[in-house]
């Protein structure tokens, strides 16, 4: 074939509006998601320059970062923190003034921006999707080019429906093999990041492919693409297939009738051609993969849960050694300790990485009929109102409640602790979120990234535990 192209090349080329004199591409943006934290200054910028929102119809707003996860009956009045409330009010005001659709706090459709985009069919294959949020990479699971932007770029998209970009490079990660019991795509992505590091993806768009990906549900694919940013990538992508179409059919904003037929015709062309060029490639076989856990303060600090914490002095690279020592001190851990000997005080199941219905199914299946360990505090925060509703219908809520978990309203919650859900100083948490940075979940808090099944099992055991054995 002449000039074979990658999936990313195809989507990119479809969106080139033109070039600036500097050579940068002007890229058209099909979908723009807006939340309360990264948008106020962008709308303010529009006002200062007397500019209008070009395409309110392609923009969707929701508040998720700053919202309480306990009773929402009062709507915005339920936000007790005054400054947080002003931020959400500002979002509501900005969206209303600009005729942008907003999903209010007490709507069943409210939730974490990266969960509701796909769930409502706002996210579509072959589109470009941006949001002032790094985990926009999640939407790439649908074969969209989706990436996080800063507030200046949010303003740029609002004003022009485009972005100025230089084309990133292509990377592929091929995943083959069959996952063992209670092993999930979260374990795969933690494993990948532990091998390639948090900056391997810098300047690249990663396409995930291979037989394991082909078999995965959309939920599992989203978890993988979600954490592409933790590998430093601009975006992660997966070629759409029948599983993608089945997921999207009849969603609120998905194309309907004839439009659906035409759309799916196009989506079938969204794959990397044979012999397409990738600047970098990796392969991983997951047949023997064990549940993963991070021990440090970088997502690349992942090990199998039945391994011991590595010794910094084993690393040649003095920079890495130094940063490992700093992490271990912060985490209150010593090299050589087995993770399964480490006890925990908190468990958080939720976030845009693992707050979807399948995540809750998987977590609840390992705790059925069991009880949360003494003195351990465990919470489940469904990623959206819809996830919450399905979980309640399926009896998943009851399983969690019976086991002693708290069952909350949707939002980002303890993933970043902007709302009152935070870790205390030195509290140790098994978390299904995506970042274990110092202070991320609360000042002095110690975050260990794990899968939903692992988090649930740890809540029962009170320590880290291998959920692939005997659960």
């Amino acid at each position: 074939m002449n000039n074979p192209k990658t999936l990313f090349d195809k989507v990119w080329e479809n969106h080139i509006v033109g070039d600036l004199d500097s050579g940068q591409n002007i890229i058209y943006i099909d979908r723009h998601l807006v939340h309360e934290v990264t948008s106020p200054q962008a709308f303010e910028g529009l006002r200062i320059h007397n500019r209008k929102v070009r395409r309110p119809d392609l923009t969707l707003g929701v508040a998720d970062h700053n919202v309480p996860t306990t009773s929402r009956n009062l709507g915005i009045e339920s936000i007790k923190d005054k400054i947080a409330r002003i931020q959400v009010e500002t979002l509501e005001k900005n969206l209303a003034e600009n005729n942008i659709e907003y999903i209010p706090l007490n709507s069943i459709n409210q939730g974490i921006v990266h969960i509701i985009g796909p769930e409502l069919g706002f996210t579509l294959p072959g589109t470009t999707i941006v949001c002032g949020d790094s985990h926009t990479s999640t939407h790439g699971a649908f074969g969209a080019l989706a990436f996080g932007i800063g507030t200046s770029e949010v303003e740029h998209v609002l004003a022009t429906q485009t972005l100025l970009q230089t084309k990133p490079k292509n990377m592929k990660i091929e995943i083959n093999g069959t996952l063992g019991k209670n092993i999930s795509s979260k374990d795969i992505i933690l494993k990948i990041i532990s091998q390639i590091g948090t900056s391997a993806g810098t300047g690249h768009v990663i396409e995930f492919m291979g037989s394991t990906i082909k078999k995965m549900s959309m939920e599992e694919r989203m978890t993988i693409c979600n954490m592409s940013i933790e590998a430093g990538a601009k975006a992660g992508m997966i070629s759409p297939d029948i599983i993608t179409l089945e997921y999207l059919k009849d969603k609120k904003f998905s194309p309907k009738n004839k439009k659906w037929d035409r759309a799916t015709q196009e989506w079938k062309k969204l794959y990397s051609d044979e012999n397409a060029f990738f600047n970098t490639s990796y392969n991983i076989n997951v047949d023997k993969l064990k549940p993963m856990v991070t021990w440090g303060t970088s997502p690349e600090d992942g090990i199998s849960i039945n391994e011991a914490i590595p010794n910094p002095s084993d690393f040649e690279n003095s920079e890495k050694e130094k940063s490992m020592n700093k992490s271990l001190e912060y985490m209150g851990l010593t090299p050589g300790t087995k993770m399964t000997d480490v006890s925990i005080q908190k468990v958080f199941i939720g976030s845009c990485t693992n707050g979807r219905i399948e995540d809750l199914r998987s977590a609840s299946s390992v705790i059925k009929g069991k009880k949360v360990a003494k003195n351990l505090h465990a919470i489940v925060v469904p990623g959206s109102g819809l996830v919450k509703k399905i979980a309640e219908e399926e009896g998943i809520q009851d399983i969690f409640l019976d086991a002693g978990f708290e069952w909350r309203d949707p939002g980002c919650s303890m993933c970043l602790g902007m709302n009152p859900d935070q870790l205390e100083n030195q509290e140790r948490c098994a978390s299904t979120s995506n970042r274990n940075f110092e202070g991320r979940q609360g000042r002095g808090g110690r975050t260990h990234l794990v899968s939903p099944a692992t988090a649930a099992a740890c809540a029962i055991a009170g320590t880290f535990v291998d959920v692939s054995e005997g659960w």
Binding site: L20, Y28, S134, G232, R435
Partner: protein, 203 residues
């Protein structure tokens, strides 16, 4: 956006890799609806203890480093969250140029949008500049010449041309793009004729 002028300053060295944006500006300060005033919260958890007292042992709380306009640091600086509050906080504190072996993509973009110069240099050169800076001597950064001067020596750096132009001229990207409005109109017309499925179908 403000233009980037030549800089002459001491450089503060924080020799760590993977410094993330949660570290640069913790979440509790993201509730603001303004861009200004974030400098006092820069590296908050490092600069203040839990009772809000300044920690003397952190370099940015020490003179003369607290007035440095250049930051020299490790690879993958600015990884993590897309919060533009990170460059806003750095600029508000007085940092105008960051020198590192590599930057996270979104942080890099956010910096240039705000006139904060991110410079990539090899680890070797960074080590030389770090050693020199520890003597509290001035570095001079000239973006126009693409040179860093120290003592009587200078070293060259590379930077993509479009970024250099933009920083030197303080271009407003939105304005530049709006000048190409006809191209956007054309694109939209063509796209929505051929691909009406791309419109949001709200039924």
């Amino acid at each position: 956006m403000k233009k980037f002028y030549n800089l002459e300053s001491i450089a503060v060295v924080i020799d760590e890799i993977n410094i993330d944006t949660d570290d640069i500006i913790p979440k509790q300060f993201l509730k603001t609806i303004q861009r200004s005033g974030l400098g006092k919260f820069l590296f908050y958890n490092r600069r203040y203890d839990s009772s809000n007292n300044k920690k003397d042992n952190f370099i940015l709380n020490q003179s003369p480093w607290d007035s440095a306009e250049i930051l020299i640091t490790g690879s993958n600086f600015g990884c993590g969250s897309s919060r533009e509050h990170a460059p806003w906080a750095l600029l508000d504190f007085g940092i105008k140029c960051i020198i590192a072996p590599s930057f996270a993509d979104i942080f890099y973009n956010n910096s240039i949008k705000n006139g904060l110069l991110p410079l990539t240099l090899s680890k070797n050169l960074i080590n030389i500049l770090s050693d020199y800076s520890l003597k509290k001597k001035y570095l001079k950064v000239s973006l126009l010449d693409q040179k860093i001067y120290y003592d009587d020596i200078s070293l060259d750096f590379t930077i993509p041309n479009d970024i250099k132009e933009r920083l030197l001229n303080g271009y407003d990207d939105v304005e530049l793009t709006l000048q190409k409005g006809n191209l956007i109109n054309l694109y939209e017309k063509k796209q929505y004729n051929e691909k009406s499925w791309k419109l949001v179908d709200n039924e």
